[in-house]
């Protein structure tokens, strides 16, 4: 018995130049906001960009983009991602709306397989993947389905997030998965030493983003958030690597 969906994924991803997964292991470290802003920054730079929210049980990129509800994507020999703020965008929210979606391991791996097999992204310069916390089903299944992937890692200056971050780094290195580098997020004046820790882990240190106390007021306002100091900092950080 063969699952034919696995066989078509390479073709589905063929017209995408770079697939960038944003990860870091721990929850609450800013992966979704960095994924979304990275996608918007690249789009503003004239690139064709896709954004896939892979946090199936707790999706949030649609909230950052100001979309409370999402319509079904169009069907055309597969599914065509939505166009949200100029991004080719896909989230499970199109199918679940604001209902709880309690998925276990096998459900998650099947959902990833189905989405990757039937989605027609078209020609993209970048597909940004917002990964959920943890070294769990999503991360592992992604590595099974494609090796055309590179990781942009995020951590915060906290020993709690560091412990998971370093495990993600080890996992990716053991499997020879390219790591673009690591961003230090939510930095404040009382934290220090993490830049050196990232460098000593053998991962390229990309830079730091300050802890923005007023970030919440920009959630759901993609136009306004692009004028913030946070986005300016992130643009500078990403300029050399994406």
């Amino acid at each position: 018995m063969i699952d034919p969906r696995k066989n078509i994924i390479k073709e589905r991803l063929e017209s995408i130049k770079r697939i960038v997964a944003v990860s870091g292991g721990k929850g609450g470290i800013g992966k979704s906001i960095i994924s979304t802003l990275t996608a918007l920054i690249l789009k503003d730079d004239g690139k064709n960009v896709g954004l896939l929210d892979m946090d199936f049980t707790s999706p949030s990129t649609h909230i950052i983009l100001g979309q409370e509800k999402l319509p079904f994507p169009k069907e055309e020999k597969g599914i065509i991602p939505l166009n949200i703020d100029g991004l080719s965008y896909l989230s499970i929210v199109s199918y679940t709306q604001d209902n709880p979606t309690p998925l276990r391991g096998e459900d998650i791996t099947n959902a990833i397989l189905e989405l990757f097999a039937i989605t027609r992204w078209g020609n993209l310069d970048y597909l940004i993947l917002d990964l959920p916390p943890g070294i769990g089903d999503v991360l592992l299944e992604l590595l099974v389905l494609t090796r055309k992937i590179e990781f942009l890692l995020v951590t915060t200056p906290s020993s709690l997030s560091w412990q998971t971050f370093i495990k993600v780094v080890r996992l990716l290195k053991e499997q020879n998965i390219p790591i673009i580098g690591a961003l230090l997020n939510m930095v404040n004046s009382s934290t220090y030493g993490f830049e050196e820790k990232i460098i000593s882990s053998g991962v390229r240190y990309l830079g730091k983003l300050d802890f923005y106390r007023d970030l919440e007021r920009y959630i759901g306002k993609p136009d306004e958030i692009m004028d913030t100091a946070m986005v300016k900092e992130l643009k500078d950080i990403l300029e050399d690597v994406l």
């Binding site: 063969i2 078509i8 459900d107």
Partner: protein, 138 residues
């Protein structure tokens, strides 16, 4: 019609397999479709035949057999077992449409009819599989 993209996956996989086995003609593909996929069989068959037409003599006259596997769910809380008819008869059109696109969202729209839990196991009836590929060798 995302049946088309699934049909492409079936044809590409069958041709790859046949070439690896050095078949000179692909005579039959037997497919098993889980009921949870909510695939429209007519559209799926049409897509398969149209895609096969593009692949030349190798797949000329390839027979397609499609078997639907009934979906069976088992509640992880109370152990109750129920089937597709009980699921789909009570769902609205939008809910069915969502499951059609992404079968795993059944967990969003279906509850155990006995205890109301959404924590259930899909015992069978999801996914899409090629059961067998048959062909000629020279």
């Amino acid at each position: 019609m995302h049946e088309w993209s699934l049909a492409e996956a079936v044809v590409e996989t069958a041709i790859d397999f046949a070439k690896k086995k050095q078949l000179t003609k692909l005579t039959k593909i037997k497919i098993r479709v889980g009921e949870l996929q909510q695939i429209e069989e007519d559209i799926f068959r049409y897509a398969l035949s149209e895609i096969l037409k593009l692949k030349g003599d190798f797949v000329k006259d390839t027979e397609i057999e499609i078997e639907e596997e009934e979906v069976v769910l088992k509640c992880r809380i109370c152990g109750h077992v129920w089937t597709g008819k009980e699921i789909f008869n009570i769902l609205g059109e939008d809910d069915k449409e969502a499951i059609h696109f992404l079968p795993e969202v059944a967990h969003t729209y279906t509850k155990c009819p006995s205890c109301g839990s959404t924590d259930f196991e899909i015992i069978k009836g999801r996914g899409l599989y090629i059961d067998s590929i048959t062909g000629d060798k020279s």
